[in-house]
């Protein structure tokens, strides 16, 4: 009898997780980095051998760091939104190709469009770790002084772009 209860126990645990999963709004988890300076980085630029980009280059403008990867399913959902977004909003987006092969990343951009001003390569996840990235996609809005102002966990939705990002960018740019 006792041994027979083990599967039931496992199933109950699974059920609890599934139930929590149902109630979960997968957005809005605060990051300890908000309000703090963005971590320093210097990284090779995707598709431009020899070139690098570092945090210093980005100072003086409001920009978005968007992590993605060619293997990430959720990124495929987010990507067209960003491609559309930059058509109408003048925002500098830096893509961070996370734990990915350069060739795969390039192919992915060729396939789905490229909304990024620059894309930097983070194949060993060093930059991702500094930013506290634990899943892709994640995005950080960084102000002129290099301070992180907003973090989006998971893919952007149209609402998040419209209601959160756009007003914040306006505020920071003025």
């Amino acid at each position: 009898m006792k041994k027979g209860l083990i599967p039931l126990g496992i199933f109950v645990v699974l059920l609890i997780f599934l139930a929590i999963g149902l109630t979960r709004d997968p957005h809005e988890i605060p990051s300890p980095l908000i309000g703090k300076p963005a971590p320093e980085f210097t990284a090779p630029v995707l598709g431009k051998p020899g070139e690098t980009l570092s945090k210093k280059d980005m100072l003086g403008q409001v920009w978005l760091l968007n992590t993605w990867a060619s293997w990430c399913v959720a990124c495929r959902q987010e990507h067209p939104l960003l491609v559309e977004f930059v058509k109408t909003n003048p925002l500098v987006i830096v893509g961070l190709d996370y734990k990915d092969k350069e060739a795969d990343g390039l192919r992915w951009l060729a396939r789905y469009g490229n909304p990024y001003t620059h894309t930097i390569v983070d194949s060993d996840a060093r930059i991702g770790i500094d930013f506290g990235v634990y899943g892709v996609p994640e995005s950080f809005l960084i102000d002129k002084a290099g301070i992180i102002r907003y973090k989006q966990i998971g893919p952007f939705t149209e609402e998040a772009l419209r209601d959160k990002l756009v007003p914040l960018i306006k505020e920071l740019q003025s």
Binding site: K3, F11, V12, L22, W71, A74, C75, G135
Partner: protein
Amino acid sequence: MIPELGHFALILAMLVAAVFGTLSLAGGQQGKAEWIALARPGAQVLWLLVGFSFVCLAYSFYSNDFSVLYVVQHSNSQLPDIYRIAAVWGGHEGSLLLWLLMLCTWMMAVSLFSSQLPDAMVSRVLGVLALIAVGFLMFMLFTSSPFERLVEIPVDGRDLNPLLQDPGLVFHPPMLYMGYVGMSIPFAFSIAALLNGRLDAAWARWTRPWATAAWICLTIGIAMGSWWAYYELGWGGWWFWDPVENASFLPWLVGTALMHSLAVTEKRGLFRSWTIMLSLIAFSLSLLGTFLVRSGVLTSVHAFATDPKRGVFILLFLAVVVGSSLILFAARQGKVRSGGSFALVSRETFLLVNNVLLTTAAAAVLLGTLYPLIIDALNLGKLSVGPPYFNAVFAPIMTPVLFFMVVGSYARWKNDTVADLTKKLRPIAIVSVLLGCTAPLLAGEWSALVAMGLTLAIWIVLASAVQIYRQLKDTVNWKSTPVSYWGMHAAHIGIAICVVGITMVKGYETEKDVRMTFGDTVEVGGYTFRLTGIEEVPGPNYKADRGSVELIKGDRVLRVLHPEKRTYFSSTMPMTEAAIDTRFTRDVYVSLGEKLEGEGKPAWAMRVYHKPFIAWIWVGCLFMAFGGALAALDKRYRKKAAAKVSATDMKGATA
């Protein structure tokens, strides 16, 4: 009128299923003959009602009845007839109706092909299935009726998702659902046996052909889905470890273990707990898959509209069905004692090892699939688990499975010796290692992974070939060999063919993304591709840019390929139709990308792939399904229960 009739048929079906399900389950338990007698006709009436409802919905689609919300959402007057019918299962509500129809069809099959079973058993089995049908009928009627009407009737429908407008969609979902839902049959047999307390060889023998039949449908369904993704999505990929793919793959892995476990239970009366547990898990995973796909708790490329109310309902249903069956299992555990014993080196051991490995593989895939959800539930954020995880975990688990598969089919039941097995298998092992390690040299660059994959494939094929040869030569009358014996070898060889395909594609596929103008050539995999033109071609509900690409080997034009980029009138998303040239040892695959802005001449993004042996993946699956069919059709399953067939009568029969 027609949609109301369909809706009414569903309500009637729910009442019929509830009444006859309860009565035939109770009747089977208490031995009431008049209640037991309800089971078979009940199942048949249920099938008629659900079938009628399905026809009503199909007719609404066919006749472009845009007063029905579901038709508006998934069809369009310009949609070709065949896709209008396939659109019935193009969305959530219709998929559920198809699910239900499949369940009723399996019940119908049980009611027709169960004359060799005791009536009380059939009654319990159909009772369990009817109660499952009640759950799904309630789900449909309360949260997802496909027959909802609109007050304001739109002029035209929103059209079927262009991705789904493909012959693949016509057959892939019904096949897959047939397999998914088919796992409910071994589940119901197990529940019936647990209720009865009789878990003997007869029970295993009754269950086996049904489990195999469901597994066949699942195999074909998964293969078709993979093939569809390959030619329709235009990425040249054939498996993405997407949550929805995993949802179909999990019951397949467990179902494979179940078939083999049933074999041991039938032949030797062992592993009864295992068999019961696997049959419960296989169906639970089918239900879990339904939950994952339909509730939208996971992000998937199979993006469906999600609705939390539906999620709650399926979760409750899952809790009731799986929870009650596991409680029953726990309560009856004491009775599920396996008789007999076996030595450490025996066929039983190897089958057990492989069952454990297959279950572990399923657990690893399940963990990867649910990991984003678990992390989210623990407030740790949202993330995506991709192919790097699955490939890293899955291959090492499956490698020993392929090895032990052969050892198991060579080992004797009950007791064997290492010395004997080594003697039989050593030559095969040596030859397959030699061939497997030299073959990659012929194909191109040598790599350890390719060598290992090919070695294992050759190992399986050689082992089967030797056994088949011996069976033909050494058996006095080889024609008396049970069909299932040939089935086993066909399926095992199928696995080997599939392994060759996967190994060669992974090892040697090449691809290029290029910008091309007319007259440009690109070389991939020893072939030259020349873009000769692009013209606009009208389709029934889309217009397409159709490329002409010459496939050239040396200086000979083999054929002209026509990849298309389609723009459907109803959707802004352009679709790619890849052009594929399939040969025995390779596919070449051309897909047309975006038109590129540029100076002067029009240029196009093109993707060209060379995929060695990729078709072997699906051919292998067909072999597996064929082998399964042979095994399920073995005539011993059709013998009356009274005609005692003891294990020893079936000399030479194997798992």
